[in-house]
């Protein structure tokens, strides 16, 4: 066999083996990546389009997420049993006053509580933003919300700009609203 042929054969072998190994390693890598990320909340990822929904607020008005396109939406999931949720509510109300005119909409999504509880709470804290109740937890499921509070920051293009789990300070809230306000 000539040396050239031999060299060709060896080259082919290396290419073949590299391709097979690469494919296998890629498959394993992808599996590990999936398993590591699967446990986290972020089945929705930053940059994904925010799933549309429609919920009714305490005044009977319907809020559809896609209607707020062009505005930043500060989407806060909460419940009255969740201490950090209660703490950040007044701060959200304060900042909403500042940013409402700049095109930032706050939507507080309560998780399947009764009208009475939510209304009493809103009145007590003088909340100025619309509060909608997710009665069958379908929006919670669509957003895969696990811990409360979770806040989804939706930019004017309708994409998720940031996912915040846990309590926010008033400063945080102001910063986040600044992030999603339209240009």
């Amino acid at each position: 066999m000539s040396t050239e042929k031999k060299r060709n054969k060896k080259k082919n072998r290396t290419i073949m083996r590299s391709v097979i190994l690469l494919l296998l390693v890629a498959a394993i890598g992808y599996t590990i990546y999936n398993s590591v990320t699967a446990d986290e909340v972020e089945v929705l990822k930053v940059g994904d389009p925010a799933p549309d929904f429609t919920l009714t607020d305490l005044d009977g008005e319907t809020h559809k997420l896609s209607d707020y396109k062009g505005q930043g939406v500060f989407l806060n999931f909460w419940g009255t049993w969740c201490e950090p949720c209660i703490k950040e509510m007044p701060a959200m109300a304060n900042q909403y006053e500042v940013y409402e005119d700049q095109g930032v909409q706050v939507l507080a999504v309560n998780i399947a509580q009764s009208n009475f509880e939510v209304e009493t709470f809103a009145r007590q804290y003088g909340l100025n933003f619309p509060i909608v109740i997710d009665r069958d937890k379908s929006v919670m499921t669509a957003y895969n919300i696990r811990p409360l509070p979770t806040t989804m920051l939706v930019n004017p293009q309708g994409e998720i700009q940031r996912i915040v789990t846990g309590e926010m300070t008033e400063q945080d809230i102001a910063g986040f609203m600044e992030e999603i306000k339209p240009e």
């Binding site: 060896k10 296998l24 390693v25 929904f53 429609t54 509580q113 009475f116």
Partner: protein, 550 residues
């Protein structure tokens, strides 16, 4: 390394032990052996022969059966260690930080290390998946490296083998023959379903070659199985969620977009021990109660195509169904299983508005703990106004009553009671067995009358699209096992020398008894010379030598 050129002129790949064409031993070691190593037909395992670039070295590493077995042993040890402490889903903590703290608190530094190494969530730890992946690589590469040369060698086998090859086979016969011996042997072998090919003065009879592919088919099955397991981690292929639903509640089914479930009621039936069920009497006497049925009656709704989450106005009823243990509700690839229950959660509480002094009642009211109203008007004009409701009252913080969960486990009510006697109203904070009158003594109180309860059902939502793939992998695996175990690859080589004498060699990959039974029949029919089993001869000789020594 260079090609090995056999005396017969055939070019063999480097590393070959027995010439692919005529079967002559190609190295000294093999020449000195009494019996030929027929494992892979004396072919070179491909990886052993080249060892040049890094790719080749990685390839060779995975090609080794020793490495494969090593990986399996490490996996077994890891899986065993994973059973020593509980896995994270059986730990009473939900957040990552709590779980980590739990292992440290309960098991000390061992627990800390256990958690740090990922043993608490073994099947999802990156190194465990990595090891399984390496096993898959090992399976594929080791099989390829052995299958390809074996296939080539069996495909190209020649009828006429060199006498040195034949004399090194375990079954060997030599002796005089007639002119029609080959013909008769061919007849009988064909009769025994052998595939016979002849060439000049020789014949090759072969049966069950496909049994040699058994191990490789088996490995393909395993790879498909592992692929199925891998798919489980992709979104949409595998769902395993828990849904707690209370009687009367309507809930979106987790990970089943567009589907909503309503619970009509949960039932727990027990055996009465009477009538037809008398046979259970003894067991009931012994353990108290014996459950007969756990059942959740549900209604499934589907949100119409294009409708949004939260838009429940025009969802369509799909089906009413009773979910029982082992009788899941199946729809659209999903299955809902009855897994758990919780009985007698509070649903409503009833009170009487009573004058504390006289005990006289002004009427009853019932508060729906799931959806309370603001005002409860009694017949004589008295009104109880609900100012605050705390379903799971957990104490005060900054003077504010708190609730720990959204479930009515320990309801607390802040009420204002107005009666014709007390037109200004009296405020009272009521919890179970306790009443606080924050604004001074009241004339009236809400006296507890009774409760209504409801049950909660714990359902498991499951979808598994990988089952057909796992099933296919398992089936192919079993076919491979059967192929390799229940069939054997039997071969005979017969040659008639110029002087008329017969040289016969036989080989099988397993079941030598069967091979000999076939050969007995052929020997009788074609008057072949008597054969001997060289391995048995060798063993017998070793035994004799051993006896002489003692």
């Amino acid at each position: 390394m260079d090609k090995l050129i056999c005396k017969c002129g055939h070019e063999n790949p480097p590393g070959t032990v027995l010439c692919e064409s005529c079967g002559r031993p190609l190295n000294e070691q093999e020449q000195n052996k009494q019996l030929a190593d027929m494992r892979y037909e004396g072919t070179a395992r491909r990886s052993q022969t080249y060892n040049k670039s890094i790719i080749d070295k990685i390839w060779n590493f995975f090609s080794s059966v020793k490495v494969g077995v090593g990986i399996i042993i490490v996996l077994l040890i890891a899986a065993a260690l994973g059973t020593i402490l509980p896995q994270k889903q059986y730990v009473p903590a939900t957040t990552e930080a709590d779980i980590e703290a739990y292992y440290t608190d309960i098991y000390g530094s061992v627990g800390t290390v256990y958690h740090a190494l990922g043993f608490h969530d073994l099947y999802n730890s990156f190194w465990f998946i990595g090891l399984v992946g390496m096993l898959a690589i090992s399976l594929i590469i080791a099989s390829l490296d052995r299958f390809v040369p074996l296939y080539r060698s069996l495909k190209n086998q020649r009828v006429l083998r060199h006498s040195s090859f034949m004399r090194k086979q375990r079954i060997l016969a030599e002796g005089p023959g007639d002119t029609d011996t080959l013909k008769k042997a061919e007849e009988k072998l064909a009769d025994l379903k052998y595939k016979v090919s002849t060439d000049k003065n020789g014949l090759l009879a072969e049966k069950g070659r496909f049994s040699r592919w058994g191990p490789y088919v088996n490995h393909i099955g395993l790879i498909i199985f592992l692929f199925g397991v891998m798919l489980r981690m992709m979104p949409g292929f595998y769902v395993d969620e828990t849904l707690w639903i209370r009687e009367g509640e309507t809930r979106a089914i987790p990970d089943a977009p567009g589907y909503v479930l309503e619970s009509k009621g949960f039932t727990l039936e027990t055996y009465t021990g009477e009538g037809e069920e008398e046979k259970f009497g003894e067991a009931i006497d012994r353990v108290g109660t014996v459950a007969k049925n756990y059942q959740t009656d549900v209604v499934l709704y589907k949100i119409p195509e294009g409708a949004l989450p939260g838009d429940t106005a025009d969802m369509e009823m799909v089906e009413e169904h009773a979910i029982r243990v082992n009788q899941p509700f199946k729809f659209d690839g999903y299955a809902l299983y009855q897994m758990d229950f919780q009985q007698d959660e509070l649903k409503t509480m009833s009170f009487a508005l009573q004058n504390k002094e006289t005990g006289e009642s002004r009427g009853d009211l019932t508060i729906d703990l799931v959806n309370p109203e603001t005002n409860y008007e009694l017949e004589d004009g008295s009104v109880v106004e609900l100012l605050g409701y705390y379903p799971d009252f957990s104490g005060f913080e900054n003077g504010e009553p708190q609730t720990a969960t959204p479930l009515p486990k320990n309801p607390g009510f802040l009420v204002k009671m107005t009666t014709p006697d007390t037109p200004d109203g009296e405020t009272s904070f009521i919890t179970i067995q306790n009443t606080v009158e924050p604004l001074g003594d009241n004339d009236y109180k809400l006296a507890f009358q009774g409760v209504e309860t409801r049950d909660a059902s714990g359902l498991t939502v499951r979808k598994d699209r990988t089952l057909p793939i796992l099933g296919l992998g398992g089936l192919i695996f079993m076919i491979g096992v059967a192929q390799g175990m229940y069939f054997n690859h039997r071969r005979f080589w017969i040659q008639q020398q110029a002087d008329g004498s017969i040289l016969l060699a036989g080989h099988t990959n397993k079941n030598w008894f069967g091979l000999k039974k076939d050969l007995d029949q052929v020997t009788e029919h074609a008057s072949l010379p008597a054969y001997r089993d060289q391995q048995e001869d060798m063993e017998a000789q070793e035994k004799r030598e051993g006896e002489q020594l003692t």
